[in-house]
């Protein structure tokens, strides 16, 4: 059992399946065979929960993964080139190129070693892009972290866990060191803080690529083709990475599983990519994939699943001697790619390797007997039929039951105030709202010369954009816009509405810079507590939200990843993270000149609120700042949201909307403040508020809403574009450096904008200053 619990992490039922198989064929399994099955069948690689038969609240429902795939199929978007089958999804830019999209998590390694975990997480997701089709070029990366608050009291750090501040600094340094050295601009990201991430952080890293449409599909290896390992050597680092990361974290995880964390070397990866891109240009790659979780066992096993493959493992280049053969087979040492190559192209490949100083080694051949055969110096390590490796695992049957958490709603006397100055200052200084500029400055975001709209803009480069726009090839004129959305706290309150909010937030972020709502693809990352009964039911509701919302918006999910082990357990103590659905969105921009930045541009211009504000503040920052969670998560009619997205797009395209921000955490007034920070403009906000309280109008986080800057002369055109969509004039930009709000002829807020900016910048200065 020790073997099962600490390294293989197989269930009893899975152990029985393996036992039965070997009894049937009349021999004992080799170590490497057990390891291969443990890797392939791990939650990390096998996505057992997402494929399982489900009964939720007594009703049989369609498996999670199939629901998502069916929705994408039903949407049938003409730009989808490849979805849910390769290392990344591919969405068409034009007839020649597509954009690749992949977002990964690296939670377990980052909990043990934040720097190493974030580094190798980044390295891994970049390899997913290069390992798409017959090779793609990485054009951008993103990073999203959910952590305990940096000022968490020391005694609250659970045993065996690191302080959130240490994790925060480590993961940022890891992403920066890897991405910067790779020459990949890190263009988008966010940070979310909550105490229940103190045991296990959520570390999300994304990558985007440019691929030739004619190289977007993998070829099929044929019998006699070579299995080529390219890039790094193999060491003992990352042995059991896939299996350990599929398990819950305990106080002992660090002691027992430290060697499961891989070690990254960006320059090794950079030169390997250089060589691979040249091989791709010379058209000699039949198929390519990266060695990620499970190492060779998974990469080779997958690529040869239809043909069979025979590996001579002693040929694999090693970092050092003394590795056991089974360790070589499953090690997750970084910077390694597997390529299927016709033997006649070996000479061309070797010339490229020699030019780029890259190691490329033939470690075996593809066969036609559908066996996964591995030898070391002639001695058999593994001889399993591919259909047992990939199909031997019985589909799980899981049951879930809905349970709701109950949170308190604050009383009217706590909420309603005469003056909201202090409330706004507290909101702007909230960890989930405050400026993250000091972090962004550690990431290279203009390398490759593709920047069109970057994370910060405005006169002092300190006012945030909602998303980033890139011109993937300089001079191309077309662009891609990259953004994301998530709100773990809303998911805890209501997994359906919280997930919907995340999708609308991701889309709103890219629409605010100029994305066309007709040309958007999405990607899901589910990071959930271990899906026991309640969290399985929540997960199922979250998938419902994805399916329904993506269909209503006509925006397909084209790739995704689930990581369902974010529970910490020690004795009676259990910590579940607030469930995360991080939705990434990519949009195709026909003309990069038709994009805008978010900060206000000119004194005298009007400030317009587009979209419907509802008095639903459950899970809002305003409630949080008062010490409450509340009950009602923001709702929205998705069809109306789509109409709003189209109106914003039209307004930007016609040059009517000069600056724009979507409204999210902190509400309307914090968006207006952020837009003012760029030039330290003043604003006078005047509105009559009906059917809701002042604080609801100021701080509601209803999704699908935007603050826009419009010249007075263009107000008529904007009204015409908006038609029946709620669109109200709420104020004007001035040079007085004060944010002033009058609601129903009563002054409710007045602050110096520079003072407010200091509050907004202070929290990260404390951490990184």
């Amino acid at each position: 059992m020790a073997l099962s619990q600490n390294t293989l992490f197989l269930t009893l039922e899975e152990m029985h399946t393996i036992q039965n198989y070997f009894q049937k064929i009349g021999r004992d399994p080799y170590d490497a065979e057990l390891e291969t099955l443990a890797q392939t069948w791990s939650e990390h690689c096998g996505h057992k929960t997402f494929k399982a038969n489900l009964i939720i609240d007594g009703q049989e429902v369609v498996p999670l993964y199939r629901r998502l795939k069916d929705a994408t199929k039903a949407i049938n978007h003409p730009r989808v080139i490849s979805c849910f089958k390769d290392n990344s999804g591919v969405f068409k830019i034009n007839d020649q190129y597509g954009v690749c999209m992949k977002v990964e998590t690296h939670n377990s390694p980052s909990a043990l070693d934040p720097y190493g975990g974030a580094m190798t997480g980044t390295g891994g997701v970049l390899r997913d892009i290069v390992g798409t089709g017959k090779g793609a070029k990485v054009i951008a990366s993103t990073d999203i972290f959910c952590l305990g608050p940096p000022d968490l009291a020391e005694e609250k750090v659970p045993e065996g866990c690191k302080h959130p501040r240490f994790i925060l600094k480590g993961v940022i340094r890891g992403v920066a060191d890897y991405g910067n050295q790779m020459g990949v601009p890190t263009v988008n990201g966010s940070l979310h803080f909550h105490e229940d991430f103190r045991a296990k952080p959520t570390v999300i890293v994304g990558a985007y690529g440019l691929i030739s449409i004619d190289k977007a599909q993998k070829g099929e290896p044929e019998s006699g083709d070579l299995v080529l390992s390219v890039g790094g050597k193999t060491g003992r680092d990352g042995v059991h990475g896939a299996t350990f990361s599929s398990a819950e974290m305990t106080a002992e995880t660090e002691k027992v599983n430290a060697s499961a964390v891989q070690i990254g070397d960006p320059i090794e990866e950079k030169r390997a990519f250089d060589a691979i891109l040249e091989m791709s240009a010379q058209n000699i790659i039949k198929a390519i994939t990266d060695c990620g979780a499970g190492g060779f066992s998974s990469a080779v096993g997958e690529m040869g699943s239809k043909t069979g493959v025979s590996i001579d493992l002693e040929k694999a280049p090693l970092k050092y001697l003394s590795l056991d053969p089974w360790e070589i087979w499953i090690s997750e040492s970084q910077e390694r790619m597997i390529i299927a190559l016709s033997p006649e192209n070996l000479g061309k490949a070797q010339a490229i390797f020699s030019k780029y100083n890259v190691e490329g080694t033939v470690i075996g051949t593809f066969t036609d007997d559908q066996q996964l055969r591995v030898r070391y110096n002639g001695e058999t390590l593994c001889d399993l039929p591919m259909d047992f490796v990939h199909g031997g695992l019985a589909q799980l049957s899981l049951e879930g039951k809905t349970e709701k958490f109950k949170f308190e709603e604050p009383s009217a006397s706590v909420l309603q105030k005469n003056n909201y100055n202090e409330a706004l200052k507290t909101i702007m200084g909230n960890y989930n709202v405050c400026s993250k500029e000091l972090i962004v400055r550690k990431y290279d975001h203009n390398v490759q010369g593709t920047a069109v709209q970057m994370p910060f803009a405005g006169g002092n480069h300190q006012s945030p954009n909602n998303a980033s726009v890139l011109e993937p090839l300089p001079g191309m004129k077309q662009g891609v816009v990259i953004g994301h959305g998530l709100n773990p706290i809303l998911n805890r309150l209501d997994p359906f509405l919280g997930s919907k909010w995340a999708i609308l937030e991701a889309v709103a972020n890219i629409v605010a810079q100029g994305a066309d709502p007709e040309n958007i693809a999405l990607l899901d990352n589910f990071i959930y507590p271990k899906p026991d009964s309640k969290y399985l039911a929540d997960l199922s509701r979250a998938i419902d939200a994805c399916v329904e919302t993506s269909k209503e918006l006509g925006m397909p999910f084209i790739s995704g990843k689930d990581s369902l082990s974010s529970t910490y357990r020690r004795g009676d103590k259990v910590i579940h993270i607030p469930p995360v659905l991080c939705v990434s969105a990519v949009g195709i921009i026909e003309d990069i000149e038709k994009t805008i930045s978010s900060p206000f541009k000119k004194s005298g211009n009007k400030i317009v609120l587009i979209g419907e504000t509802k008095p639903e503040l459950g899970g809002s920052i305003y409630y949080d700042s008062l010490g409450y969670v509340g009950t009602q998560v923001p709702t929205i009619d998705t069809k109306l949201a789509f109409q709003i997205f189209k109106a914003i797009h039209q307004g930007i395209k016609q040059g009517i909307i000069l600056s724009c921000q979507d409204i999210s955490e902190g509400g309307l007034i914090s968006s207006i403040a952020e837009m003012s920070f760029g030039e330290l403009f003043g604003t006078k906000i005047v509105a009559s508020v009906e059917g809701m309280k002042d604080y609801e109008w100021l701080f509601s986080e209803s999704p699908g809403r935007f603050v826009c800057e419009v010249a007075e002369k263009d107000m008529g055109i904007l009204k015409t574009i908006c038609d029946s969509i709620p669109c109200i004039l709420v104020g004007e930009i001035n040079l007085e450096q004060r944010i002033v709000v009058e609601l129903n002829q009563k002054s409710v807020l007045e602050l110096n904008i520079n003072d407010l900016k200091q509050e907004w910048q202070a929290p990260m200065k404390k951490v990184f200053g």
């Binding site: 050295q181 960006p266 320059i267 550690k442 203009n446 010369g449 920047a451 300089p474 001079g475 000149e593």
Partner: protein
């Protein structure tokens, strides 16, 4: 004549795309030349008019920034570098490329193999990616002809950009007017104050030329501000970018 520009490449160089694009926009013809191709003799520097050392993290900046790149260049094709620098040709190194020019001794004084200054860790002790303003000083630098006194905006993206030199060398650099770019504040005065001076360089030095004006090295990235949409606030008509293209045009029209 359309000059040929060699973009010197090695593992870890990552600013090749925008560097090549800048010179092609300026009318040049660019080619990636790998250190391994010069080592093997497959390519020769003599076939090019301009040598461009782009930015990146050559060999991971192990030991020091650009140290291995510079040592390999000296060892494998030092003679070709020597000939190139003595010929009527141009050399430009940006960021990691500037670090390489300093570590080969091509800058500040074109003494190949002699290290007479350094670029070291930023005073802030952290990598910085941000926009800065540079003032173009009067010098005999070919790249900045006709631009003296102007202010240009460029991004910086580096962790080791702080220029330091011994007092005698520094005095000589200043007396010979070898400083081409200085970091300036909002009032357009040279500054030591972060973040306008992103790395704490002595005398706000951002870039230098050799005594003959034909070798230029700088930490900031003018190749990332060669078209209108490169400057983050291009949405405002008056703030459109692209002013750095002229540096590359000057180099191309020199031939």
């Amino acid at each position: 004549m359309k000059p040929k520009i060699a973009l010197l490449y090695t593992e870890g160089i990552n600013r090749d795309q925008e560097s090549g694009y800048a010179f092609r926009l300026a009318g040049g013809e660019t080619e990636l030349v790998h250190v391994s191709e010069l080592k093997s003799g497959a390519k020769k520097l003599a076939n090019y008019q301009i040598l461009f050392l782009p930015g990146g993290f050559a060999n991971g900046d192990h030991l020091f920034s650009a140290k291995i790149w510079a040592s390999e260049s000296l060892a494998y094709f030092g003679d070709q570098l020597q000939a190139f620098a003595q010929d009527d040709k141009l050399i430009i190194g940006i960021c990691n490329g500037f670090q390489c020019l300093i570590r080969t001794g091509l800058l500040p004084f074109n003494h190949l193999g002699k290290i007479e200054a350094t670029l070291t860790h930023n005073a802030s002790n952290s990598f910085q990616s941000r926009w800065v303003k540079l003032k173009i000083e009067s010098s005999n630098c070919v790249f900045t002809r006709g631009l003296e006194g102007q202010i240009i905006r460029t991004p910086v993206s580096h962790g080791e950009g702080r220029f330091l030199a011994p007092e005698d060398e520094l005095n000589k650099i200043e007396q010979e007017k070898q400083v081409v770019f200085r970091y300036v504040d909002e009032q357009e005065n040279p500054t030591q104050i972060f973040p306008a001076n992103p790395n704490g360089s002595t005398n706000a030095i951002a870039g230098l030329t050799s005594p003959n004006g034909k070798i230029l090295g700088l930490m900031p990235h003018p190749e990332c501000n060669t078209i209108w949409n490169h400057y983050p606030n291009w949405n405002e008509e008056k703030q459109r970018g692209g002013e750095c293209l002229q540096l590359f045009k000057n180099a191309v029209t020199y031939f």
